[in-house]
Structures are given as C-alpha cells and as structure tokens.
C-alpha cells in the first residue's frame, strides 16, 4: 500500500513526448481514400453560395458536374454542363401570427427559376421582400395570408395561403409541407404537384404525397394551400438532345437493361403510414482514431515473435 502511495507520488502530469517523425515510405501508410456520400437526399448538381443574411438578390452558383464537393470524385454520372442559372433563395418558413387576423403579403411578380421546375413568386410585406414557391393560379397583385392558429372549425383557405395542417379541411390540396414543426416547407416542391390531406387522428394529420406514400405529421406543421405552378411541366417532353444538354444532363447510356429484372412495373403492397416524430434523433459523436504504423503481412511480422 505504502509502496503504491509512494509510486503514485512520483507520478506527475506532463506534456506527452511526441515521437520524432521520420520520413517514411507512403506505400504502407494508411491512407483511406475518401468516398463521396451518395444518397441521403444530397444532390451533386450545383453549390449555391449563400450569404450570411437572407437576401432577394439572385445568388451565384458553382456547377459540380456530378462531383462530390468534399472529395472531388465523380459521384453521379450524367450531370454536367448546361446553362448556369442564378439561385433564388426561397424563404421556406411561412410564419404567421398564432392569434388574431392572418399576416397579409402581396405577390409582386412570378419569376421562372432555372434551378427548379416550379415558378417562384416575389412577395412583399412590410419593408421586406422574399421568394416563395408560386402556386397554380398565383398572379402579381394577389394577397396571400399566413396564420399559425388552429381553430376548432377548419378554415376555408384560398390558394397560396399558409396554414397549419390541423387548420385545414380534409381533402385540401397542399404543397411545401413541413414534416417537423418549425423546419420550413420540406415536402412537395416540384411543378404541378400537391399533397392531399386524407384524415386526422388525435393531434396528427395524415397526408398523401405525390409518390402515393402516406405520412403522419403533427397538426401544427405549416403548409401552403394549392397546387404548385407550371402544371404543364410534367406533360412537356424535353424535345431534343440539345435541350437536355442545356438542362445540365450529359449523355446517358446503359441505363435501362431489359433482361436484368430490375426495370418494369412493380406490384407491391402499399407501405404503412410513416410517422414523423416531433424530435430529431441526436447525431452521435464520431471520433477518428489514427494508426501511424503499418499493418504487417502476417501476425508474426506484426507482433514480432
């Protein structure tokens, strides 16, 4: 015990001795080639240079050509070139008063946006300007209303207004739906698309998205009423190979192989209703460990016995 105590007394906290580094051959060093993160809703078409504060000025864009911006490697084939369009920064949050009359905003202009299929509406209220996704019959001079109050009797909404899901009657066509309250319009952005409110259960509302999937969302998630603009987009063919190149799509080959069994109509039972929780799961901390040595051919060389 005393010897242990004496031994511990001799201990002191010092800076660890950093081993002197020699120039070693890189052939056996661990160099993990980074891989691009594909999937997870990330697109490799362009990077938008967002400034600190929200602005209505069209933003500069760098085209990626299918490359991952972190690793520089090709992540997706078939993307590249095309006309460069400036990005209109859409304000996805439709914030309205939770009591009293709804907030009124005026539509100034409908703008065709090169970065998306739907049209964009320039909207003004007070001394602020912002962009939102334009709905089907929106025109300059319209007044659109936003409210986050959920009344007992559902509201009879006009196109372009934004209300929480719980305030709208069943069967309403909606777009730019939040899946978590406060997130901003997340679901349904493409031209001519809309989600439908199917039924209400407790404090949740079940909607049918354009992909025929059913989502169960909290009733205080905001959404915009109506169908998105540019409805004819889905029916217009691209027209020519040159037009496809102007859209930023490179020539594609070998995409559709008849005999592999992967293509063709699928007949599946519909998936169950996806329930979106109120809270996002916390991201786990990732610690990157390092090994500066080299891995030997077999255990004998590794542990030198």
């Amino acid at each position: 015990m005393t010897s242990l105590a004496r031994a511990l007394q001799k201990l002191c906290i010092t800076q660890p001795q950093i081993a002197p580094r020699f120039i070693v051959s890189v052939r056996t060093r661990i160099v993990t080639p980074p891989k691009p993160e594909i999937g997870r809703g990330k697109s490799f078409r362009r990077i938008v240079h967002f400034p600190e504060n929200y602005t209505v000025k069209p933003l500069e864009v760098t085209n990626l050509g299918g490359r991952d911006p972190k690793t520089g490697r090709l992540a997706v084939k078939g993307i590249g070139g095309g006309i460069k369009h400036k990005y209109h920064w859409i304000d996805w949050h439709r914030v309205g008063p939770s009591e009293g009359p709804p907030q009124e905003e005026r539509v100034i202009q409908i703008i065709k946006d090169g970065c998306r299929t739907a049209h964009v509406a320039l909207v003004a209220y007070g001394d602020k300007l912002k962009y939102i996704l334009a709905t089907e019959n929106m025109k300059p001079g319209d007044i659109i209303r936003t409210s986050s109050h959920i009344p007992r009797i559902p509201v009879r909404p006009n196109e372009g207004d934004a209300y929480p899901l719980g305030a709208l009657p069943i069967g309403t066509q909606i777009n730019c739906v939040e899946h978590t309250p406060g997130l901003g319009g997340f679901l349904v952005h493409a031209a001519g698309t809309f989600a439908t409110i199917l039924r209400k259960v407790d404090n949740r509302v079940i909607i049918l998205t354009p992909s025929k999937k059913e989502f169960s969302l909290l009733e205080n998630c905001m959404c915009t009423v109506g169908r998105l603009s540019n409805v004819a987009h889905g029916d217009t063919p691209i027209g020519s190979a040159q037009k496809n190149r102007e859209l930023g799509n490179r020539p594609r080959s070998g995409l559709w192989q008849r005999k592999t069994g992967r293509f063709g109509r699928k007949i599946r039972k519909p998936p169950p209703v996806k329930v979106f929780g109120g809270e996002k799961p916390k991201e786990r901390e990732v610690v990157q460990l390092n090994f500066s040595g080299h891995f030997g051919k077999h255990l004998r060389t590794q542990f030198q016995y």
Partner: protein, 403 residues
Amino acid sequence: MRPSPHLCKQHLGWHFKKLWATQSARKIRDAGIEQKLLEKGVPVVKAEDILWEKRPLEKIEVVGLKPKPVVFDHTHPNWHDKTILTYRDNNVLLKGLQQAKILTNTVELKQGLPDFTLKSTKKIDRRVKEIILTSHVFDAEQKILPKVKDPERPAWNFPRVYGITQPRVIKLLLNNLLQLIENSSDLEVVKQRYVLDDTHFSYNFEKSSDLIQFELTGDTLLTSTKPLPAVTEEPTESFQLPDIHPIKPTITLNKENIYEVRGIYPISLKFAKSHPHTIFVPHVETEVKNLYEEPVTEAQIFGRSLLKTFTVAASYAKEKYGNDVTVLPKPVVVQCVHTNGRFFHFGIFQLNTLDLEGGVKNVWFQTGRLPLFETCCYKVGRPVLEGYNNEVIQYLDAFYNNV
C-alpha cells in the same frame, strides 16, 4: 486437387488496412452520464482542458507593415446604431411612382402636364435628326456593349457588339440638344440660364421615426436667375395618397449603419443663377437595376424621376428657407427630363411643403414615356433614322423657355 500452401496465403495486413478504413471512425454512444451528473450539480469538464495548459497567443505589433484595410462594422468612424434608409442614383423603388408619392407626400392633380403651349419646331427638326445620328451612330467611341440575350434561345451566344456606351449616348444627346435649343431661343431667356454638370444633391428627413436620405450625384442641372412660378394654386388637402397595403413605403430603400447625414445644395444662393430650373436625369440601363434583377418597369422609372426632382427642390428649399420650415411661403417648382437615349419622360414638380406627413401635399405632373425615334442604326451599311417624333424637342424647347 491438393491446395498448395501458397494458395491459402493472404496478406493479413491488407485485410486489416481495409477494415481499419471504416472501423477507425468510432461512433460514441451517449449513455446520458454527463446529463445526469450535470442535473446533480456535479461539474463535468473535458480532460484536455485540465491536462494541457492553454497558452494565450501573444499579439505582436509590427511597425512598418502596410495599414489595415478599413473594416465596415461598428468600429468604423461613421457607424451609427440607428439605421438610415437611403435612396441613391441607381436604385428604383419596388412600387415605383405610387411608393414615391407616399414618401414625398405628393399627388397628381391630373394626367399629363399642365397647360403647355408647344411651338412648332420645323426649323430645327433637321438639325435634331443630325444630333440623334451623331450621338447614337457617328461617335467614334468603340467599347464592348452588354451581351445581347434572346430569352427564347437561352443557350445561343450572339456575337459581341461594339459601339457607343449608353452613358455617352445620353450625354452627347442632351448636350447637343441643349446647345441647339439655346441657339434657337431668345437671347434674353438664354442670358438667364446656366448649365451645370455633375451636380450633387442630398436631402434627409424623418418620416414615421425612420431616418431617410435621398442622394443624387452627377446629373445635369439647368439653373436660372428667377425661380419658376407656382404651377397651381389648388388646395391639395382633400386629395388622398395611394395605398400600397401591406407594403410599407420604405421598402427597397437601402438600410445602412455607416453613413453621414448631409444636406447639400450645390450652388451658393449668393450666385445670381442659383435657382433650379430643370434637371436632366440619365437612365443607364446597365446601372439602374432592381435588387432582384428583374426588368425595371415604367412605374419604377416614373418613381425615380419624381424622387430625383423632389431631392433637388427640397435641398433648395431647405437652403433658402432654413431647416425648420414646413409649408413653404412660396412653392418651389422644378422641371425634370428623364431619358435613356431613346425614351424621354417630362415632369414638373411643385414643392408646397417640406412636412411630409401633413395635410398640404406637393404636386407632380408628368407625361408618359415619349420615344424620340423608332430605330437609329446602320442598316445595310447605311446610317438610318426611322420614326422621328418631333413632340420631344417641342417639350424640351418649351421646358427651356419656361419662365
């Protein structure tokens, strides 16, 4: 077949290397210990904070390096906490003329200019056509002009055009037309007039607790020995200002924290020809733009000319009658000619009051946008001027001779 020892050989090191590539990134599961300890009041500190001593970075002032660039934040000498809303040369208001009227407390009593007698200008029409051709086609400047884009063929790059830049076109046109009018006008009238270039105006005021400043730089001003008489004596209290609810009239004015509040009228009133007569506002399409980069509308152009004329009239009135005047003893009248080289827009502004929230209102008269000509360019190698409109020179002449 008996597998030889060599076939079974595997390089373990390469297997471990591949595995290490993914396994080296360890995801740490949060057991909630830290939260539980913090709830009980036990302080939780990172090991690195105790073990490694933190050395603060010593700042070394090196003499002789180049000076630091000016940072535009709260350390700037002109920083003020209160935001100012400014309107400069190349801004346009979102709602154009309607918004400008609310800001400057102005009403339009009738469409078009007040009763104006337009003289026939047959004698000088030929000379005007020559001037148009000189300023648009014959001048020697060859600078690269903005790209031509066809919205229907977005991928097509047109060959670049070289020619006279728009600021120069407007400058040449206005200078030559003014000179022509001076030559063809009565000597007594010409003796009263004086032309100034690159004049700066600045007028600031408070409206509903917002500090607003209008600034004009580099415009042509025509001054006179006598101020223009009031155009109309009609009482303006009963007229209503336009309503742009839910938009505030201060939208699209620049918000700035680094500013200098100035009231500038460029000419000293001791000078005989210091009374403002007409202002010539150039509209250079590459510089006058919306923040959201959509084309400038006609209403926005009208609003711009109203605000510019107001700035001239208001800065003159402030200089003449002092800072605290509200309703002016004698209304100040300023004329305005707004051009982009082809389209002309004429306006007359009567400043009745500097109190922009009161009942007495200021008055604005304007024409629409009149084209001076349809096309003026080289066609099949020959300089051609088509669709000449003599209304514009008649108005210009009438404006110059207005006493």
